[in-house]
């Protein structure tokens, strides 16, 4: 049993998911152990209500358990973790949809003039130096929309529900954000 545990340790998430597709509970446990804190933190930053986060997590992992085969079987492959986030983000929107009066989403950090420390600069490579600057200069309400649509991969309608904004506002802000980003990076 211990050697099996170690064997699971060695696998990446895609391989784990393939095992989950075959009904392997050990692989599911390992996947949960590795990804659930990350998912919980990320969801928590988008939804202040712990009840909703718990509900979304539960639905997400249940969906993973049931649909792992479809993911493993699809030729597109892609990242298992990215797939997990896609499921969770949509479920979060669904949870908001179900609650007419849901908890307020956490407001975007108001002041964000904090200059990143030098050690964080490696990270900037992911987003790129110019992009990072442009993002920092972006008005919070524009950034919030951009984040939901680009980073979280949500559609206009889903973003509208997540941020409790009318669809038209989301569209306007998305356009303004893009223009601002383009100008800042030019």
């Amino acid at each position: 049993m211990r050697s099996r545990r170690r064997a699971l340790d060695q696998l990446d998430e895609e391989r784990l998911l393939r095992l989950v597709a075959k009904g392997d509970r050990g692989a599911f446990d390992e996947l949960y152990r590795r990804t659930s804190p990350w998912l919980a933190v990320r969801l928590r930053r988008r939804c202040a209500d712990e009840q909703i986060v718990a509900e979304v997590m539960q639905e997400t992992y249940l969906a993973v358990w049931r649909a792992a085969g479809a993911f493993a079987g699809s030729a597109v492959g892609g990242s298992a973790v990215g797939w997990l986030w896609t499921i969770a983000a949509r479920r979060l929107v669904d949870a908001f949809r179900r609650r007419a009066h849901h908890a307020e989403p956490p407001v975007a950090a108001a002041g964000s003039a904090v200059v990143p420390a030098a050690e964080d600069e490696v990270l900037a490579r992911t987003v790129g130096g110019d992009v990072g600057d442009a993002l920092r200069q972006l008005a919070p309400e524009l950034r919030q929309v951009l984040q939901a649509m680009v980073l979280d991969g949500l559609s206009v309608r889903e973003t509208a529900i997540l941020l409790k904004l009318p669809e038209g506002t989301v569209k306007t802000r998305a356009r303004r954000a893009r223009i601002a980003m383009r100008e800042a990076m030019a």
Binding site: D12, E13, A21, K22, G23, R25, Y32, R34, T35, S36, P37, W38, A40, V41, R44, R45, E50, V53, A54, M57, Q58, Y61, L62, W65, R66, A68, G69, A72, G73, S74, A75, S79, V81, P106, A108, A109, G111, S112, A113, V114, V115, P116, A117, E119, D120, V122, L123, A124, R125, T126, V127, G132, D133, L135, R136, L138, P140, R143, Q147, L151
Partner: protein
Amino acid sequence: MSADHASMRLIDEYARGDTTMAADTVWALEAHLETCATCRGRLSTAVETGVPGIAALVDTVRAGLEPQLDAAVRAPARRYRPRWVSAWMTPAMAPWLAMIVTVVVVALVLDVAGPPSLFGDASPVLLVAPVLPLCGVAASWSRGLDPMYELTASTARAGLPLLLRRTTAVLLVALPGLLVEGWLTGAMTAAQWLLPSLVFTSTALALGSVVGVSRAAAALVAVWGAVIVGPAWATGRVPLALEPDRLPLWGLLLALGVGAVIARRNAYSTL
């Protein structure tokens, strides 16, 4: 690899839900965490040691999940058909494709073992080859033959591209069979039947934009039977239309058929 990881301080702040973090940093960190297993591991550690609220949440969810996992009925994740197959053909076409294969085999048997007097000089293969693909094409976009017609007709892919995909699948089944057969029997050159069968296929598609593909195919098969096969059977000679010197005419017809399909390309989305 190791140089590209986020600092522990940053991960701690992120895990605690610190709202004073710079927005671009959070963005970069979240993007990074999605692709980096090492940093996700470090985030797990940070949660365990520093954020009891989330650690408890994770455990509660896991405990609540247990009975649901047990209850979830799981059929073995078996795929009955690869996804790409559905992109090129439908189950409704399968019997017709099987029929094409059968006809090719029967024609071959007739050619080799059949009474020579049946069609005289004309090989039966030569006589069926031009209309053979039509049978499959008819089933590829048909209200009567395809149960999923109504659902398919309302989707974005419905239209000429989907029809062409399915037609290609039919041709891929029919043509190699005929090719092998022509080569085995030596009764006909490829050009002699290949062009006519492409002409019939394209004409069926062109007419199909007006009356529906299956009706067009049926009509063409009837015309072919009456004008070519009937006389050939009666006279026992290779039909005039299939003589090698008629090839330019077939070429012209093919161009006309293809042109008509292109001109009517938008008419296929609703029938």
